[in-house]
């Protein structure tokens, strides 16, 4: 079934056992993002040290795609420099807008390539991007803070 390309086993695993879910007490920045068309929400805590993502934790409600994607993202950026994290973010955005034409580089995206199938379901792309956009927002805010 076409559906299996969307709901890969990896995704359902992350959905049932999300990584880094549950907000840390400390944070450099906290952001709250919603998906206005379906009501899904995510709160994300980012801890920065120098230029390195020390920790990302999150909480929220959402569908399997948005939850799994947030889980994968938070694990992926953990311990990376902002530059590296943004490279992954760009790769993931490209994958999501590919309409199924590319597979994604698993050296960069790791479990994230399991979400490749989402790009064939335009209405779900926003679900997959929710956590990533929250991270992006948080990272930009954190950087701005530091420069002040």
């Amino acid at each position: 079934m076409e559906l299996d390309s969307l709901y890969q086993e990896v995704i359902l695993d992350h959905y049932k056992h999300p990584l880094h879910k549950g907000l840390s007490d400390e944070k450099s920045v906290q952001v709250h993002h919603v998906n206005p068309s379906c009501g899904d929400e995510i709160t994300l805590n980012l801890i920065f040290e120098g230029d390195v993502v020390q920790d990302v934790t999150w909480d929220g409600v959402g569908c399997s795609i948005s939850q799994a994607s947030a889980s994968i993202m938070s694990d992926l950026v953990h311990g990376k420099s902002v530059e590296q994290a943004f490279l992954a973010l760009d790769a993931f955005s490209e994958l999501m807008s590919s309409k199924g034409s590319i597979k994604g580089d698993d050296a960069i995206l790791e479990d994230g390539v399991a979400l490749a199938g989402v790009s064939k379901f335009p209405a779900r792309v926003k679900c997959a991007l929710l956590g990533w956009m929250a991270f992006k927002d948080a990272a930009l805010q954190a950087r701005e803070k530091e420069q002040k």
């Binding site: 079934m1 076409e2 559906l3 969307l6 709901y7 359902l12 068309s37 379906c38 009501g39 899904d40 929400e41 409600v61 959402g62 569908c63 399997s64 795609i65 379901f121 779900r124 679900c127």
Partner: protein, 416 residues
């Protein structure tokens, strides 16, 4: 046994010939969002364009005359459908525009009962669609008025226990839905209206989910304004209706300004035509008005009472069927008393968005999410629901298909 020949009706709607994913047939259970269109409506629009297209009320040539006749004929059809005078029927682009029109006209008009001052109250309910909530929040913001609301009970009814506090001498507007687009609940409009009128408040009825589904008469309803959309009642997109009591329309300042709504114009100022013209600035959505009239002809040919009866029977069947599914919880009334064919539910362990996605694989089209009624979602503590909404072209086979697909969804996500 249904009172409608659903097979014959379905044959009028070309979209049902389309094959969905996995070559499934279309099980369309999303009429609450928008309805499908019969060939008769598409043909009426096309005929307008190929035989009468010109700017209505703006030319002395034959086409302009015919366009005017077609457009005003559409108005008369809609007026008859709701028991109104033609001059009380205003064409808008949508119910959303209709409600915004009233809210802005309140700001523009300086005579009673349109003047709101700080501390005045606007009463809505917790089950309103955003379209019947945010325009009032904004009006409140502009005027210093206060938004108050009826709560919703656990079983999806309006909580009327504090109605006499909610409707008081400060209440200036009561804006209420005629049927919840999430729960199917039909609030006690007559009771609310009589109490509202007793304190001199204006009653605005959001009839988006009622006008398509059961007979409606504005005189019997006794409310002051009624708003609904064409696209939810077999009509084209891009057309809505606002009905208003003639005596109020006469006092109300216009909302949109431009051509065709004026009496005279100088560089410094302008005066207005009388209703409904003063509320219809610009070259109107003529083809859509004509299409909506064709939709109404289609509905009245079948009979609104028969449609209502059909939907009530089907709703009962759906409620019964869905309740046999383990792990499925229905939001809202479980009987068909004061309740229409909109059924929201949750599947334990499955997010609505995921449920909708799997249902789609079986050709079952439902809506998932907050249904533009976010406060109601908060009330129930959910991010969204899965919603099946019925119309005249649905029958038991559609409900059965829904139930089967739900079971398959539960299997897919291994929650059963």
């Amino acid at each position: 046994m249904s009172s409608l020949d659903v097979a014959a009706i379905k044959a009028d709607f070309p979209i049902f010939q389309k094959r969905m994913r996995n070559d499934a047939r279309l099980v369309y259970l999303d009429s609450g969002a928008t309805s499908q269109k019969p060939a008769q409506v598409l043909e009426a629009e096309r005929f307008f364009y190929t035989h009468h297209n010109a700017a209505a009320h703006r030319g002395s040539h034959l086409l302009a005359e015919e366009a005017s006749t077609a457009y005003e004929g559409a108005r008369a059809t809609i007026a008859a459908f709701i028991g109104a005078d033609s001059d009380e029927v205003i064409f808008t682009k949508s119910a959303t525009e209709s409600i915004n029109l009233i809210a802005y006209s309140f700001s523009n008009t300086q005579v009673a009962p349109f003047v709101l001052t700080a501390g005045d109250e606007i009463l809505v309910s917790e089950m309103e669609h955003h379209a019947n909530l945010i325009p009032w929040q904004q009006l409140a913001k502009r005027t210093g008025a206060v938004i108050r609301w009826f709560s919703v009970t656990a079983d999806g009814r309006l909580d009327l226990s504090n109605i006499d506090q909610l409707i008081n001498e400060r209440t200036k507007i009561v804006a209420i839905t005629h049927q919840s687009n999430v729960l199917g609940t039909i609030p006690p409009v007559a009771l609310i209206t009589s109490k509202a009128h007793a304190v001199g408040a204006i009653v605005v009825l959001d009839a988006c989910q009622s006008a398509p589904h059961f007979p409606m008469n504005v005189v019997e309803l006794d409310v002051d304004f009624v708003a609904f959309s064409g696209h939810k009642m077999l009509g084209p997109t891009g057309v809505g209706v606002l009905w208003g009591r003639a005596s109020l329309l006469a006092k109300m300042e216009p909302f949109l300004f431009g051509g065709s709504m004026i009496e005279t114009v100088t560089m410094e100022g302008a005066t207005w035509a009388s209703a409904p013209r003063k509320f219809e600035a610009g070259v109107p959505n003529m083809a859509q008005a004509v299409g909506l009239a064709a939709a109404i002809d289609y509905l009245t040919n079948i009979g609104m009472s028969k449609i209502h009866q059909h939907e009530t029977e089907l709703t009962q069947y759906a409620l019964d069927t869905l309740q046999t599914i383990k792990g499925l919880n229905i939001f809202g009334p479980l009987d068909t008393i004061d309740r229409g064919g909109v059924i929201s539910f949750a599947l334990e362990g499955i997010h609505p968005h995921d449920a909708g996605q799997v249902l789609d694989q079986y050709g079952v089209a439902v809506r998932t999410g907050h249904h533009c009624a976010w406060p109601l979602m908060r009330k129930y503590g959910v991010a969204g629901t899965t919603r099946a909404s019925l119309y005249l072209y649905n029958d038991r086979s559609d409900i059965d298909a829904l139930a089967e697909a739900i079971t398959a969804t539960q299997k897919y996500f291994k929650v059963s």
